[in-house]
């Protein structure tokens, strides 16, 4: 589904992704972790080309992203992206947020798109918040609307960039629950997160990154119990003890 081959990226002189090789299968849930500045967000932002990379090959659902003639708009419509800070459209209600792309990108009829949006909002447990504006919702609710917004496009892949990092602790659970459900339904997911409970429960694979390199990859249980590298061991001890 997603295939990185020797992908390299620089921000000016800063080498932020080094020789990334990674293969994500359909239905697989991959958690990406690592210290801040390790390139995890950049990595998943490459998958829908929110970030360009300079060297290497990347195929997403068979589409070559290193090829400049690739239609990015079309590709992005097939990939849901959930931001740390939600980035809902503040001038629209929750329902309009979810229905906008189906109407304007998928060319659905407004009534159909709104029915779809109601369905997706119900799926993330917000059926009663359809007419609320983002500022009238809690952080956890906003993030669930953002997930519904992604799902409304029936994406083949969902990407999550630290979806719970901006939330108050008591709201993290409600967002993770939605993600767990999504994973159990067979969605292909790449999740940048430090929620190790989530990783243990649903990830098929955990990837550890440091300084732009993919340092270690393994099944969650093995990774946490028995990290292969010192760097990963250090990281795990830090996030598990703090």
């Amino acid at each position: 589904m997603i295939k990185f081959k020797g992908v390299n990226k620089w921000f000016g002189k800063l080498h932020v992704l080094r020789d990334i090789d990674l293969h994500v299968s359909p239905g697989e849930v991959v958690v990406v972790c690592g210290p801040s500045g390790s390139g995890k967000s950049t990595l998943i932002r490459c998958i829908n080309r929110l970030e360009k990379f300079q060297k290497g090959e990347l195929f997403v659902d068979g589409t070559p992203l290193h090829d400049h003639s690739t239609n990015l708009t079309k590709l992005r419509a097939e990939i849901g992206f959930v931001f740390q800070q939600f980035h809902l459209y503040p001038h629209m209600t929750a329902l309009q947020n979810v229905a906008l792309a189906p109407i304007n990108v998928r060319k659905m009829k407004r009534a159909d798109a709104e029915a779809l949006a109601h369905e997706k909002l119900a799926r993330v447990g917000l059926a009663d918040k359809a007419d609320a504006h983002p500022t009238q919702l809690s952080g956890g609710q906003q993030q669930r609307v953002a997930i519904a917004r992604g799902l409304a496009m029936s994406p083949k892949i969902m990407l999550f960039d630290e979806p719970t990092s901006a939330l108050d602790p008591e709201m993290i659970g409600e967002v993770l629950d939605v993600m767990v459900k999504l994973a159990s339904e067979g969605m292909t997911m790449c999740v940048v997160t430090h929620e190790m409970g989530f990783a243990r429960q649903v990830a098929h694979r955990v990837i550890f990154m440091d300084e732009g390199s993919l340092v270690e990859t393994g099944k969650p249980h093995d990774f946490f119990a028995n990290p292969q590298t010192d760097r990963a061991a250090q990281f795990i001890s830090k996030i598990l003890t703090h």
Binding site: L50, T73, L75, F81, H87, Y89, P90, L100, A101, N104
Partner: protein
């Protein structure tokens, strides 16, 4: 007082004729200013570097020179280059282009304060740049621009007064005629000032009403948010 009232009745029809011209020029200038200013702002934010340079130059020229000088250049200067305009056209054109430069800056500020992240969110879900601007950026920018746009509207209404200097029979032009005909500058200009005040007041009320209609939780203009 009675005398003033009779004088008022005598001159008001003529002043109202002028008022109509003033309103037309102000409305036309604001419309031209919007029609030219918004695309200018979009180029200023999203255009290629050399296009940005051109529109920045345009904005700076109109914001950096006196309106009266611009009016004289258009009406008295451009005919030398073979471009002759009627008085009224020169008035619309000068005030309109002048306003477009200011409106461009206000729209640019509003667009930039909507923020790049809204654009990223729209692009990430598969919307084209154009659609993102149309459905995500501009609807928010229009709400944010309200307070400064309202100032621009007030300025333009008042600045129309300069057009009497190229003999356009606007409110100010009519006032000039009336006051010298009756040798009553004080009474005339007090009435004229009141008329401008009423126009500005009504226009502000209308705009505030429009702003209220489109008010969205969390997107109040700063003015209302801090009230």
């Amino acid at each position: 007082m009675n005398e003033f009232f009779i004088f008022f009745q005598t001159i008001i029809p003529e002043l109202l004729q002028g008022t109509r011209v003033t309103l037309k020029i102000a409305g036309g200038a604001l419309f031209i200013g919007f029609a030219v200013g918004l695309p200018t702002a979009l180029i200023r934010v999203y255009g290629s570097p050399w296009l940005q340079l051109i529109v920045t130059g345009y904005i700076n020229i109109f914001r950096g020179t006196p309106l009266l000088v611009q009016l004289f250049v258009v009406y008295y200067g451009l005919p030398d280059l073979g471009l002759t305009f009627s008085r009224l056209t020169a008035a619309y054109l000068t005030l309109g282009l002048n306003s477009s430069a200011y409106q461009a800056e206000y729209f640019r500020g509003a667009i930039q304060s909507v923020g790049e992240k809204q654009m990223v969110a729209a692009r990430a879900i598969g919307m084209s740049r154009f659609k993102a601007i149309r459905y995500i950026i501009l609807p928010q920018a229009f709400r944010l621009v309200m307070p400064s746009w309202s100032n621009e509207m007030i300025s333009i209404i008042k600045y129309t007064a300069v057009v009497f200097l190229i003999a356009v029979p606007d409110l100010m032009g009519k006032a000039k005629m009336v006051s010298s005909r009756y040798f009553a500058p004080i009474s005339t200009y007090i009435i004229v000032a009141l008329i401008y005040l009423v126009i500005v007041g009504l226009a502000t009320l209308i705009l505030r009403y429009v702003g209220k209609r489109f008010e969205t939780p969390g997107l109040e203009s700063m003015e209302t948010a801090t009230r």
